[in-house]
């Protein structure tokens, strides 16, 4: 596939890895913020191509993983109602709430459906006027335009049986939280390329300056990630800290003004609780008052405080990059994608799922392109 295959070329990746080794003279710790990049790194063995001096830390960029348990419980409560068709991205179905998950609600007769796009949920509402269609709006700035557009279209078409349970989160406040933590180890960031297609990267310029940390806007294919690391190491070695755009084929500095307009028309910035991390100020998006009619919380009542049973899951530490998934005592035994204790084992962006899926046990090695379709 064009714009994909050429960035998975084994030879090009090896040459880029050699270039990284050539410019590296000291120890450096770099965090990739996005779970999509974590999966690519583990799947293609990108980290194993790097010199020992470079450590990659996996960031909290997995919206499914950080959705608070209270909202999952609310989703389960709504999904179990007989008059509701509950729509969600597939990733959310196995995420454990306090006592259950969406898949179990579905198995018990709840009408839970996986949709590819939020607009598909609006269409469902059009086709089922006798039902309440609720969409679970989970995601970063990448997903926000698509969910905001669904609200706008439902509003334009006067669809009254459509609402949204909003759990949107924003990346820059989480990066700032990591950088300002007293024990921060991150010296350079790979910023999430697709978030930047929407938002651009001017916000990151302030962060790079304030925390003297290079931030490289990076794509998702193995060669993109290696190139992002190369640019980051070059800056670190030279003592520079600026924002560079590795993913210029898709990202412009100002992002997509049209997509931003759609977001700001529908959403406003709110504080948001991140599962495993706590409340991060200004890190969420919520519906504006003029679209409050589409707010599932207004329609079905507010979420009750979660009562999570304590487990041995260490997902909070994994999400902060403090621990690696295999350091968890339950990893791969009492916690698997089929029977997860924590969200990072469920999501296609969760670090635990990546390590489990690609068999990252201490002695295994993954070769680049070995699993390339």
């Amino acid at each position: 596939m064009k714009f994909v295959d050429e960035y998975r070329d084994k030879d090009a990746a090896a040459r880029m890895a050699a270039a990284i080794a050539q410019v590296t003279t000291r120890l450096w710790t770099i965090m990739e913020i996005c779970g999509g990049q974590t999966h690519a790194i583990v799947k293609y063995g990108v980290d194993r191509l790097l010199p020992d001096a470079i450590t990659l830390i996996h960031g909290p960029g997995c919206p499914v993983c950080v959705t608070p348990v209270e909202l999952i419980d609310k989703a389960l409560e709504i999904a179990a109602l007989p008059e509701v068709i509950f729509c969600s991205f597939g990733d959310m179905l196995r995420v454990p709430g306090s006592h259950s998950d969406l898949l179990t609600i579905k198995a018990n007769g709840g009408d839970v459906r996986i949709v590819y796009a939020p607009l598909d949920a609006v269409k469902l509402a059009q086709h089922h006027p006798e039902k309440q269609v609720v969409f679970f709006a989970v995601g970063f700035e990448t997903t926000a335009p698509a969910t905001a557009l669904a609200v706008l279209q439902a509003s334009q078409l006067n669809i009254t049986n459509f609402s949204m349970l909003v759990a949107h989160v924003c990346v820059p406040p989480a990066m700032e939280m990591i950088l300002s933590a007293p024990h921060n180890q991150v010296q350079g960031f790979l910023a999430a390329g697709h978030v930047c297609t929407v938002m651009g990267y001017t916000e990151y310029e302030l962060l790079a300056q304030r925390y003297r940390t290079p931030i490289i806007v990076t794509g998702f294919e193995p060669l993109d990630i290696l190139h992002g690391i190369y640019l980051c190491v070059k800056q670190l070695e030279a003592g520079r800290a600026t924002v560079e755009n590795q993913y210029a084929r898709a990202v412009r500095r100002e992002g997509s003004r049209e997509a931003q307009q759609i977001i700001t028309e529908v959403f406003e910035v709110t504080h948001r609780q991140w599962r495993g991390l706590g409340v991060i100020a200004g890190s969420g998006l919520g519906l504006r008052e003029r679209y409050a009619g589409f707010d599932a919380v207004r329609r079905f009542g507010a979420a009750a405080p979660g009562a999570m049973t304590p487990t041995e899951c260490i997902s909070g530490l994994v999400l902060q990059g403090v621990k690696k998934p295999q350091e968890c005592p339950a990893f791969g035994t009492r916690c698997t994608p089929e029977q997860p204790l924590g969200a990072p084992m469920v999501s296609t962006e969760g670090a635990c799922a990546a390590y489990y899926r690609y068999r990252r046990l201490p002695n295994s090695r993954t070769a680049l392109q070995e699993t390339n379709p």
């Binding site: 596939m1 997995c62 990448t142 698509a146 334009q156 697709h194 297609t197 590795q246």
Partner: protein, 79 residues
């Protein structure tokens, strides 16, 4: 969740309202209807990067070559 896939625009719906503008986009042969509300400048034959049914950006062919140019330059200087 931020997974986005490049696809080629096969046809664009005739729609005055930019918010309703959509296209048929081929992802290596799989065709889906995609909103173009975020990329009103996109034209027939363009490649767009798509997430959750929403085209996030038009892909720039020239910029796409940059990493390969960098590699070639590195090869030349190391020779």
């Amino acid at each position: 969740m931020c997974l986005a896939v490049p696809g080629k625009i096969l046809s664009i719906t005739d729609e005055d309202d930019a918010l309703l503008c959509a296209a048929r986009v081929s992802f290596g042969g799989i065709v889906k209807e995609i909103s173009l509300a975020g990329v009103p400048e996109a034209k027939l034959g363009d490649y767009v990067i798509v997430h959750a049914g929403f085209a996030l950006a038009r892909l720039d062919e020239q910029e796409a070559q940059r990493v390969f140019t960098t590699l070639r330059q590195m090869d030349e200087t190391s020779r």
